[in-house]
Amino acid sequence: MKQIFTVANKEFHDGLRNRWLVSITLIFALLSVGLTYFGAAASGEMGVTSLSTTVASLASLAVFLIPLIALLLSYDSFVGEQESGTLLLLLSYPLSKSQLLLGKFIGQGSIIALATLIGFGASAVLLYFQLEDDAILSAFSLFILSAILLGLSFTAISYLISLSVSEKSKAAGFALITWFLFALAFDLALLALLVGVEDGISQTGLTQLMMLNPADIFRLVNLAGLDSSDVNGALAVAINASLSQGQLITALTAWVAIPLTLAIFIFKRKKL
């Protein structure tokens, strides 16, 4: 346990030193405050708009940003240390592979979690003082929780990438493709399936397919509770056949645990 903490502490401080925490927090804070105040500018209004519009716009931006940030933060975690020779050295220490991996996960995960909490939390507090509506706190808690899980999920996925390749540049390439597939291509494919193939897929079938993408689960969590007028695309269909929030959060947690377990498995079999 002490070993895990030592590694986590080092990774967390790396995140502070590289200004990752500050940058991510700033991006999230600007984004959420901006959207909170100017989200309705397109419809000619200014100032705080409805809660559902704000959360909907935040969710649709966060779903692109968070996976990208998580992948950027962690894609070189292992392949980078392998290239510089410190991975071999660390493994000659009284430190197991799972301890090293979990330590890194806790350290880098804390950076993402803390940035999400502070960044989005700031606008939640701001909004709460303006509207004094308790619904804000519950909606934002759910949003922040699911955003953290989304970030952790992509951190675990980037470990899979980092452990499977032998060069840093390859890991960067794979990270980009992964982001493209999960954040963009998957949804387009679903939409194509929905529109292009008549009676091709039922509502339940669509929702089940969406469980294959953590980004879509995140969307479902945050949009399911809102007016469907703020939601469009494949999601609007899925929402009607939606699973409960608890089930969705469980599915998202599984998207953290499964890649992480798989990463430990790959690490243990990795040839050094």
Binding site: D14, N18, S84, T86, S92, Y93, P94, L272
Partner: protein, 308 residues
């Protein structure tokens, strides 16, 4: 007899069909310094990884302090093993002290020990600076400090003197001698370097995963039967006319005699009998020559095998 610190019994490692290390049997006792020599890809690093327990042997047994190093029981003895990898660049953005503190903590020590070690390798003045500003020699010293954490019972050093200036190299060998006198065992892995000979008890020569020779330097010299070079000055061709000495004369230099170890004394006696002799210089084959000899022998054997 005490149990050896390291023992390999027919241990080998293969990757797919490639033998990175063929069956090797060796032991390393307490307080012994072993030099491990070979070209790149000879299997030196593979052997070190086997001893460290980072990889498991494909065949045979490896035991370090009586346990298989890749097993769970060996976990605690890892604290007593120091390792300097061949190519390591430490976390560039951290300071030297932060790097060493991190590694010290992983071995159960603290910042104070890290500071002491930095002082021991002589980079205290730079410990608050980021590693990316370090010279090659300073990085190597930091790596050595890392390997010395916790006064290890067993040290595995891969190319320890690369990048060190002569003074730092001297310091390094003094530290090795000191650790040896404290009972630590050391495996020095290197290309053959001048100056290493006085500090090792035994040498091991590897080539393409095969153990070519192992033993103390004098044993290896004897096995190789390399001639002793004797240079005599002031004789002006008298050697060439002497019936006994003439056939020892080196083909490349008429002042030099290549004499088999067994005949050394008799040749010297003869030389000292000459009236005009001014100076005699006797040089036994050095490690590099022994090393070259075994490599050449190995190449010849391979060729002979190919022809059959």
């Amino acid at each position: 007899m005490t149990t050896p610190i390291v023992s390999l019994t027919d241990a080998g490692k293969s990757y797919n069909k490639l033998d990175a290390l063929q069956s090797v049997t060796m032991t390393l006792g307490e307080g012994e310094v072993l030099g491990l020599f070979g070209h790149n890809g000879a299997g030196k690093t593979t052997m070190m990884k086997l001893i460290l327990g980072v990889i498991s042997p494909s065949r045979g047994q490896v035991a370090v302090m009586g346990m298989a190093p890749d097993s769970k029981e060996a976990w605690h003895s890892r604290t007593k093993i120091g390792y300097l990898p061949e190519n390591v660049s430490f976390y560039e953005q951290l300071t030297g002290l932060e790097v060493l503190t991190y590694f010290a903590k992983l071995k159960g020590f603290n910042k104070k020990q890290a500071i002491d070690l930095l002082e021991q390798v002589g980079i205290t003045h730079a410990m608050k600076r980021q590693v990316k500003t370090y010279s090659k020699g300073m990085r190597q010293r930091l790596g050595l400090a890392q390997a010395f954490i916790g006064e290890p019972k067993l040290l595995l050093l891969d190319e320890p003197t690369v990048g060190l200036d002569p003074i730092a190299t001297g310091d390094f060998y003094r530290t090795v001698d000191q650790l040896k006198s404290q009972g630590s065992s050391v495996i020095l892995c290197s290309h053959v370097l001048p100056g290493v000979e006085q500090h090792i008890d035994r040498a091991m020569i590897l080539s393409s995963g095969q153990l070519l020779a192992m033993g103390s330097l004098s044993e290896l010299r004897q096995q190789a039967a390399l001639p002793v070079q004797i240079k005599a000055h002031g004789l002006n061709g008298a050697m060439a006319n002497h019936e006994h000495l003439a056939h020892f004369i080196s083909p490349t230099c008429s002042q030099t005699l290549n004499v088999p170890e067994a005949e050394k004394i008799s040749v010297l006696k003869t030389l000292l009998g000459f009236e005009h002799i001014e100076d005699v210089h006797v040089e036994s084959a050095n490690l590099e020559q022994v090393y070259q000899h075994y490599l050449a022998l190995h190449a010849q054997q391979l060729q002979a095998k190919g022809q059959n």
